[in-house]
Amino acid sequence: MKDKILLFVYLSLLVLVSLVHSYEWLLGILSLLCITVFLLPLKKREKVKILKRSFFSVFFFGVLVSVPYTTVGLFIGDNRFDYFLMINTRTLDLTLLTFVFLEVMNPFKALDFSKNLSLLLVITSSYALVYNKVLKDFKDAFKSRSAGSRIRGEDFKHYLTRLVVYFFDKSKETSEDIYIAMKSRGFYYD
């Protein structure tokens, strides 16, 4: 129940903050969020990580969009710094808000009003980490056996082919594994 309430609070705040257009308010919200991050029951390193991740998540797109827009404004005599502050602060606010709530809320529990959805999320995310690790090993093995940047097209095609077939077959196996595991734990559908 707690997670569903948190979800509701989070969604409401998300929409509310999206509707704020004054950069003063948004900066205030940002300070509140930063304070909240430091109050979270986490190690210092993890708190810094949250802030860093939020920043980098928005940095690229934020700069790409707002910097040219503001710069053009300079040339045509239109002061667009309010816009610059507003859009970037709000983006940062929303992203930080999301990361903060993800730390205190269990998304699987929050979404378990639909049993199917919750199951799908848990199963897929746990296997995704495994798959990702295997993919990384494939890439590392390829790197370890080749001479660097000059790779023959033919070889890369073999490699890509193998990746696709391997993971497709693996996903079929995974499907069977999941089915059997679910059956043995008593899942039925009505």
Partner: protein, 259 residues
Amino acid sequence: MIELKDISYSYEGEMVLKDISITIQEGEKVVLLGINGSGKTTLLKVINALIFPQKGVYFYCGVKIDKNKMKNRDFVKNFRKEVVLLFQNPDVMLFNPTVFDELAFSLRQLGFEDKEIKKRVLYWADKFELSPYLDKPPFKLSGGQKQKLCLACLLVLEPKVLLLDEPTANLDPRTTGWLVDFLYDLKTTTIITTHNLSLAGELGERLLVLGEDHTIIYDGRVEDFLKDEEKMLKAGLLHKHKHKHGEKEHTHYHLHDYL
């Protein structure tokens, strides 16, 4: 030959290797022991220049290995010929259409001539009993054969440093025995990881143990470590649980013998 000075590596905020300093001479046979998660695979990847540590320096034959050095194509070509890594999961190494192509792959990549390639491939295929499969796809082989094939793919290069990540983890006892024999006769510098204590003595003379704190907690002879209960406990390699000797039930520290 290999020199690691104060190497530290962390991934996504988690420490994986801490203040690792080791020197390995040419021809040494080193066993890297540690429980799962202690950082063994990561250390091998650092030595194979697949990942770069955030702190510390790695010297290979006196040359500092870092991202920049690994951008030098001539150096990389040579390095990848001399320092090779056998991955724990053999599937991730195999992707060529035939066993022959698989064995020839690295040789082709690193610029060997066709005649030389053919010679080496046939030699090693024969040595590893893979000759009947030369025109079959690699992934159709059995688990043990795949492992042999992966090893053969590395040995065709006649490397100077052989890094093996848990090579016996998926092998049956017979193939394990074959591997131990094979490695015994090899003159190459080897670093082999395992979490199997009883096998450690068979795989090398020098033992490096990675502790749960991600540092090297032992560097010395295998026999001496096996006598030191305290060190083994610290490494998480010894455990205690209820069991019976005959009719009496009790607990004490012990190992399980895997062979």
